[in-house]
């Protein structure tokens, strides 16, 4: 599988949990990539290991955009 295909799968997983109302509450970066902790009130934690560079860029962009939105309010 190409890096791009792997990225698309990772992006799909991130979007899946965010669409369900989960929030990224923690990002731990390590030698394998970035481990995302996603949480929804009254639900269990979900963990995602995002390995690809584009995948790590993708969730960073989502967080960055959110921050920009909050700051512009």
């Amino acid at each position: 599988m190409s890096d791009y295909q792997e990225y698309l799968l990772e992006r799909e997983k991130i979007d899946h949990w965010l669409d369900k109302g989960y929030m990224i509450t923690d990002v731990t970066e390590n030698l394998s990539g970035a481990e995302l902790t996603l949480k929804k009130p009254e639900n269990d934690l979900e963990k995602l290991l995002i390995k690809t560079a584009d995948g790590r860029k993708y969730f960073s962009n989502l967080l960055f955009q959110k921050k920009e939105e909050l700051e512009s309010r």
Partner: protein, 428 residues
């Protein structure tokens, strides 16, 4: 016709092209010939206690048919008595009052030595002084040149001593043989320098003769490291000029030196913050008259861009030069191969397949002819294919629109920090 007059810390010259302190500025005869050819200024070959030289002295590195891609020398400062040099400086300045003559100086790191030489040199009417804290060979073994230029405290102290006695502007010439040139540039500013110049030559050994096992050059079978210059060092010099130009703590003009071979190179250095340029290797390779092309080329460039004065170029690219952490992670370019221009040599495919990201496919078109095609989704925009491509216009690097606004690494790290802090309140 554009105004090419240049001003470096108050030193005026009819154009920004100066000969650097080196063999081409060894004597009045040479500097007068240079001014006759059109050079705007000359930094006289370094004055100090006259030295003894060895033979041989120079070596060049040729690469794939390009003669003098790099140049190495083990020649020291002037070997002529100070009086002889001063007499010729006086005569030359009298003959060419509008051209800049700067005396390059190197003495032991002692206050009285600096005071003595500064006073004697200024008496003959030089327009400025350049303190040679850069030569990496020979003199460095005696505690001068780059040996003192690598120690910020010595740069500051010696600049201060020279300034104590000087009435003309003092330029401090810096060595590149140091990890961070801004450290010594800042020291020069603290010492009172009116300008800095960079770069002096880089420690080098041009080669080893694989038959005789002698170094190149060698002196009777023995070699020593020299100073490297010429086109090969230009990227190193340009970065160092840019690093100093963008530092808020280095607020003095810069004279750019290092591999400048034509007017385009000079423009690059000026855009990156140099107020003028100094040139040596190109003159040694092609003679003084290369300055004619430099003047014509610079003039035409300015006229075409409707820029009235060369001074308006200075520093225009500096705001575009930053740290890696400030680059946009979302900016995206990809390679596109123009199959009507491509000669199917496959160099791009091999380079990408072997050493980059394996995104150039060898395919057949509708008629069964071989074609190359980039899988854009896998292309990281590294430029390698277009760099190795031998045919102009066969590969374009094109910008793709990003689905996200610009975000730098520093932006990203800041937002990840906030996530830790707010535990979810920031999340999409």
């Amino acid at each position: 016709m554009a105004d090419l007059r240049s001003n470096l810390a108050g030193i005026q010259s009819p154009n920004p092209f100066w000969l650097a302190s080196a063999p081409p500025t060894n004597s009045g005869y040479q500097v007068q010939r240079a001014f006759e050819a059109g050079w705007g200024g000359a930094v006289w070959k370094t004055l100090g206690d006259p030295i003894l030289n060895v033979s041989s002295r120079f070596a060049a590195v040729s690469f794939n048919g390009q003669r003098v891609a790099g140049f190495n020398n083990i020649e020291l400062i002037t070997d002529r008595p100070l009086e002889v040099n001063l007499k010729e400086i006086y005569e030359t300045k009298k003959m060419y009052p509008d051209h800049a003559i700067i005396a390059s100086l190197m003495v032991e790191p002692k206050q009285e030595k600096w005071h003595e030489i500064v006073k004697r040199v200024e008496e003959v009417g030089v327009d400025g002084l350049e303190l040679n804290f850069g030569c990496p060979h020979g003199m460095a073994e005696r505690g001068m040149g780059s040996a003192s230029g690598q120690v910020p405290e010595l740069v500051e102290k010696q600049t201060f001593w020279a300034k104590e006695a000087a009435e003309t502007p003092v330029i401090v010439k810096l060595t590149p043989n140091i990890t961070d040139i801004t450290a010594t540039a800042e020291a020069a500013v603290r010492g009172g320098a009116d300008a800095v110049s960079m770069i002096n030559t880089i420690n080098s050994l041009a080669g080893v003769d694989i038959d005789t096992w002698n170094t190149i050059p060698h002196v009777g079978g023995k070699g020593a490291h020299g100073g490297y210059c010429g086109p090969a060092v230009k990227p190193i010099a340009l970065n160092m000029v840019g690093e100093c130009a963008r530092s808020p703590r280095i607020n003095v003009p810069i004279s750019g030196i290092g591999g400048i071979s034509n007017w385009q190179n000079a423009v690059e250095f000026m855009l990156m913050g140099a107020s003028n340029v100094q040139i040596c290797t190109a003159a040694m390779h092609h003679g003084f008259r290369i300055v004619e092309d430099m003047i014509d080329g610079l003039n035409n460039y300015l006229d075409e861009k409707e820029i009235p004065s060369v001074q308006e170029l200075v520093g225009k690219s500096v705001p575009k030069y930053s740290d890696w952490g400030n680059l946009d992670l979302n900016y995206k370019i990809v390679a596109r191969i123009n199959n009507d221009v491509c000669i199917n040599c496959n160099k791009c495919h091999i380079a990408c397949e072997d050493t980059s990201h394996q995104c150039i496919d060898m395919l057949k078109d509708g008629q069964g002819n071989p074609i190359l095609k980039v899988r854009e989704e896998d292309c990281v925009g590294c430029n390698l294919c277009s760099i190795v491509c031998p045919v102009e216009g066969a590969i374009d690097m094109v910008e793709l629109e990003s689905e996200h606004p610009p975000m730098t690494w520093n932006d990203r790290q800041a937002v990840l920090g906030l996530v830790q802090e707010k535990k979810g309140n920031l999340t999409p």
